[in-house]
Symmetry: C2
Subunit: 123 residues, 2 copies
């Protein structure tokens, strides 16, 4: 990160070209805990957020509600250290395999899917 | 499903009211294998697809590319039997916990994230 040719906020063009973005320039990211394999949350990145994630090792997203970049854990301390970044077969969804510090959910729940079971099939 | 009051394709209004849809009326669904906890794929539902999923027990999505409903496995035989439907803290993402028959990915891969590792942190 010390030379102009390795900017910390520029996504490898070969990677960028393979992403299929929404009309807003975003790609959804499924976030999974590496050891328990829990699905922690869904978030969104643009190319810049993905580049920052790869460069820093800290999951960095685009907040659609606030319209700004968001380094997970900067406010809460509940960082996500990214171990793997995977792209799906269609190029339109990312998977971050992470090591989550503390609770993933802003409610304090371990995952964003803990609280609300809409439907369960018995047996 | 034999009376008009229990239509097989009408989402419980109390559930529908809690979903935060995209401008297109859709909600993304993270699909996870119940036992291995692998993330299999990301797909999209509207209220009708979610209602059909709950009513039939078979994961049913809205195909954004084809503009039609899509019962997973109807072509491939690789059905997803849905064991749990969860809603996230913001009401804008669903999690289907499923029992996947065969390969989840249309490429024949077990999951849609198997083939393309963009980045890995060593150690």
């Amino acid at each position: 990160m010390s030379t102009p040719s390795s900017s910390s906020s520029s996504l490898d063009p070969a990677v960028a070209a393979r992403l299929r973005h929404t009309a807003d320039g975003l790609v959804p990211v499924v976030v999974q805990q590496h050891d328990s394999r829990e699905v922690l949350m869904l978030a969104w990145v643009d190319d810049e957020a993905l580049a920052r994630t790869i460069d820093t090792g800290r999951a960095t997203y685009w907040s659609r509600s606030r319209g700004e970049y968001w380094v997970k854990g900067d406010t809460s301390g509940h960082a996500q250290w990214v171990k793997e970044v995977r792209l799906d077969c269609d190029g339109d969804t990312l998977l971050f395999v992470v090591d989550q510090v503390g609770a993933a959910c802003h409610t304090g729940d371990h995952t964003c899917f803990d609280a609300d079971l809409l439907h369960r099939v018995d047996g």
